[in-house]
């Protein structure tokens, strides 16, 4: 059973709507990440956080924003959805220490379609 939860699993929404993708983990991990996965399945890091009130942009520029008010919660928000935002979004977390040793734990993903 997953210890990191993403909701919703699937979302179809109209252009211009504001949306928030939820990600929560129960493992007490300090580090959390958001990846965008394109149709070719390649993974692009768009945001990450190393703890409460710490957020950074990733390698791929994204119009989304994130917040980290609680350790367990790392939501991603799109203020005005566009068709170009259609993608799968994966949330992940890693141990407070030893990220290198243990890698990430992933959520099940949110598949977003903007029409």
């Amino acid at each position: 059973e997953a210890d990191i939860y993403q909701t919703p699993r699937y979302l179809v929404i109209g252009t211009g709507k504001k949306i928030t993708l939820e990600c929560s983990q129960t493992m007490g991990h300090d580090k959390m990440y958001w990846y965008q996965q394109d149709p070719g399945m390649e993974l692009h890091l768009i945001h990450y956080s190393y703890g409460v009130n710490s957020t950074e942009k990733g390698d791929l520029s994204s119009e989304s924003t994130v917040s980290r008010i609680r350790t367990e919660h790392f939501p991603l928000t799109l203020e005005s959805a566009r068709p170009s935002h259609t993608s799968q979004y994966l949330c992940a977390s890693s141990e407070p220490t030893g990220t290198g040793r243990y890698g990430y734990t992933f959520g099940s993903g949110t598949r977003l379609t903007v029409v």
Partner: protein, 114 residues
């Protein structure tokens, strides 16, 4: 900067046969970790196997094993006795020992034929 390259976009294997997925990487670090992740269709990405760069012995997890060639910067995954449930995208990934961010390859899709 680190890079991870998976040169095989797709591999097909007969059920019960063996398939090997290739992964090469580049890093200036001497201490790092390598991973293979599996992403089944519409399901959660899970860790299959990991390898510490300082260990010469190749990691093995049941039907999954790796061939780690540090000098060649190669990290291939062998799936033995392939099962239908092995059909998925497989990602090779690298992280430096004190690092926080994984670098992923582009993925290899594995198809298993009954």
């Amino acid at each position: 900067a680190q890079t991870v390259t998976q040169s095989q976009p797709e591999m097909s294997v007969q059920e019960a046969e063996t398939v090997t997925l290739s992964c090469t990487y580049d890093t200036s670090e001497s201490d790092y970790y390598l991973f293979w992740y599996k992403q089944p269709p519409s399901r959660q990405m899970i860790l299959v196997i990991r390898q510490e760069a300082y260990k010469q012995q190749n990691a093995t997890e049941n039907r999954f094993s790796v061939n780690f060639q540090k000098a060649a910067k190669s990290f291939s995954l062998k799936i033995s006795d392939s099962q239908l449930g092995d059909a998925a995208m497989y990602f090779c990934a690298l992280i430096k020992a004190a690092g926080n961010k994984l670098t992923f390859g582009g993925g290899t899709r594995v198809l298993v034929k009954p």
